[in-house]
């Protein structure tokens, strides 16, 4: 029986899963929408991954989670590795592109830049307050233009004269777009202008003050948009590398981290019948009113978090704790 490792990246918009063997080769992978329910998304994901992998030949001995729901999903799966998405993305990308110097990552809710020198992360930044450089901005604008997100990129490439769209702020960009559409700019020009605006916003806000060296790898959901790739190439004057699995880099990274961990775990694919419930309790012990999240596995409390101080700690009895 060969060993295998599961990595799951649970983002705000999509949930990605991957199973690798000891040589980091991908044995199974899947991508689906989170739809505001990470637990159900992961159950579905694991069910699909189970069908892709030969369980008679491979045994999953390590599970890693990353993305904004990493803690929740890591807890219910009893993962041996729970890692932030910045580290996971860097590790995943480095496994395929050891020479990479810059990683552009644009996801649904956030975007980040990771600078790498000699195989280690030397600097990173994440968007903080504005969504103008993210995937959800593009998808809301494509809806406004009556387009599917998938049509966006190819249409942008048709433009010979991209419309200038204010990139500083989501709200300004949106009203600028509406005005330009109303005075007769062509749709492809507006779409190309939007791609350019996303790139300008990204480079000005997330990449502000950072020196960008090639090779540049671009990933996250938005990396599937050819219009944005082209806009990045125009802005940086460099070739932009987009891996065919660019959306899976976080999951791959955390699977590798799970593999590198000293601990091995038992993992059971049959979690569909287990009910996981979360309950939010408002702590009333002070005016902070911390919202404490309790996680139940088949009605048994397995973990809780959210309290700022010990007064609000809800303790799990030792034998109940699953990991």
């Amino acid at each position: 029986m060969k060993k295998a490792y599961l990595g799951i990246d649970i983002g705000s918009i999509s949930t990605k899963g991957i199973i690798i063997d000891e040589d980091n080769s991908i044995l199974a992978s899947m991508y689906l929408w989170t739809e505001g329910n990470p637990i159900d998304a992961v159950k579905k994901l694991i069910h699909i991954l189970k069908e892709q992998i030969n369980l008679e030949a491979y045994k999953v001995v390590g599970v890693g989670t990353t993305g904004s729901a990493r803690k929740l999903i890591g807890t219910i799966l009893g993962a041996n590795t729970i890692k932030n998405e910045i580290t996971a993305h860097a590790i995943g990308t480095l496994s395929l592109y050891p020479d990479v110097r810059t990683i552009f990552e644009i996801g649904g809710q956030d975007s980040k830049i990771i600078l790498i020198d000699d195989g280690i992360v030397i600097d990173y930044a994440m968007n903080t307050l504005c969504a103008a450089g993210t995937g959800s901005f593009l998808s809301s604008q494509s809806k406004r233009l009556g387009l599917e997100v998938e049509e966006f990129g190819p249409l942008a490439l048709k433009s010979k004269n991209p419309t200038n769209i204010a990139a500083r702020c989501t709200v300004f960009a949106e009203s600028d777009l509406v005005h330009k559409a109303q005075i007769g700019h062509k749709k492809e020009d507006i779409v190309a202008g939007l791609c350019k605006a996303v790139v300008t916003n990204y480079l000005n806000n997330v990449g502000k003050g950072k020196k960008i060296y090639a090779p540049i790898v671009f990933q996250g959901g938005v990396s599937k948009n050819i219009g944005v790739i082209k806009a990045f190439e125009n802005a940086t004057g460099e070739k932009i590398i987009v891996d065919e699995n660019s959306h899976l880099m976080g999951a791959l990274g955390v699977a590798i981290l799970a593999k590198d961990s000293d601990e091995e775990i038992e993992f059971n694919f049959d979690i569909e019948d287990i009910t996981f419930e979360t309950k939010g309790i408002e702590c009333k012990r002070c005016a902070n009113n911390c919202e404490i999240i309790c996680i139940y596995k088949d009605k048994e409390l397995i973990d809780s978090w959210g309290n700022k101080c010990d007064n609000g700690a809800i303790k799990v009895r030792k034998r109940e704790k699953v990991h």
Partner: protein, 356 residues
């Protein structure tokens, strides 16, 4: 002679102890302890503040209202080196408009170059105050602040390595409780020595070359743990030494302007106001000392600190030291902050291992 006023000041780090002693002992008036800062404080403050002011304004306004509800009838504003200096008038007006009948003492009207102006401000609190008593208490209070700063400095540098989780926090709480009862220099020295020794005796397991991170940034947010989501503790818990120069003692008494200007002249020619020069100076010092990383903290929209950021980026490049920037507003979720801190920690570990 006891004045008929119940005075209060919004929570700010642990410095309220010093203000309490100054008011009780020096000005001989009652002091109302403002309730601890909570989510509610910020909610109240945000509700009645103009949206575009910085978060310290909102925390303070919330703190004033909570202090009034706790029984205070006189409030102090100390002002500050940036637009904080104008906040007193605005706070006062907002509180008046809300219908609160309170006396507002705005220290920003006093002039540091003319100590007598402070006396005049104090006189508004207690017209019959005893100048000698005020002076001697002020000297004691300065020492009390120094003790708080020293003790917290020590904790910051060691709490990440405690063997028994909670030891430092417990001693810290005990120290602050005892400090509140101090009334003379002698008592202060005893308390300080006692706790300094006890802190030193806490069992730790510090590695030979632990990770070292320096904190820099805007005056209020960096010194008020609630405002920065207890970022120091979150960082330290990962097993590193945290250093922060910025505190009341250093910014008041150990900040020779000309010297600092000279030492950063390669990076900044002009003073960009408020704490910006200290921010640059500290970053440069930490970079030269070979720290593993720097964390820059400010409230959202803090102009002097925004001005300092391009300079910091140059320092980061020249000395190959990573600097991460945090901007705090009235958000209360820690998720994004924790992700960044975690990634920062991973990064500096990787860098350190590479250097070996």
């Amino acid at each position: 002679m006891k004045a008929n006023c119940k005075i209060s000041f919004p929570r700010f780090g642990n410095y309220n102890i010093a203000i309490e002693i100054l008011m009780k002992l020096g000005l001989e008036c009652d002091y109302i302890d403002a309730p601890l800062t909570t989510k509610k404080t910020l909610e109240i403050g945000t509700k009645y503040s103009p949206d575009f002011v910085c978060t310290p304004f909102k925390y303070q306004l919330g703190g004033y209202i909570e202090a009034i509800e706790a029984g205070a009838n006189t409030l102090i504003q100390v002002g500050g080196p940036c637009r904080l200096g104008y906040y007193g008038e605005l706070h006062e007006q907002i509180l008046k408009d809300l219908g609160y009948d309170v006396k507002f003492i705005n220290m920003a009207e006093a002039d540091f170059a003319k100590p007598l102006t402070f006396y005049n401000e104090f006189k508004k609190i207690n017209p019959k105050l005893n100048l000698k008593k005020v002076t001697s208490t002020l000297l004691l209070v300065v020492k009390i602040v120094d003790a708080i700063d020293k003790i917290e400095d020590f904790i910051r540098q060691n709490i990440g390595f405690e063997k028994n989780e909670g030891d430092f926090d417990l001693l810290h709480r005990e120290f602050l409780a005892e400090l509140r009862t101090v009334r003379t220099k002698k008592e202060l020295n005893q308390t300080y020595k006692k706790y300094y020794t006890r802190l030193k005796n806490v069992e730790t397991n510090k590695p030979t070359h632990p990770l070292q991170v320096g904190l820099i940034g805007e005056y209020y947010t960096i010194m008020d743990p609630y405002s920065n989501h207890y970022i120091e503790k979150e960082l330290a818990k990962k097993g590193m030494i945290i250093k922060r120069w910025m505190n009341i003692t250093n910014s008041f008494f150990n900040a020779p302007e000309q010297e600092i200007k000279k030492s950063i002249k390669d990076y900044a020619k002009y003073d960009m106001g408020a704490t910006s020069m200290y921010t640059v100076k500290c970053a440069l010092d930490y970079a030269k000392d070979g720290f593993d990383g720097i964390i820059h903290i400010k409230s959202f929209g803090c102009t002097p600190e925004i001005d300092a950021m391009p300079v910091l980026q140059r320092i980061s490049e020249d000395y190959k030291i990573p600097i991460i920037y945090f901007s705090f507003d009235s958000q209360t979720s820690d998720v994004g902050i924790n992700t960044r801190i975690e990634a920062f920690h991973d990064m500096i570990i990787m860098r350190k291992e590479k250097k070996k």
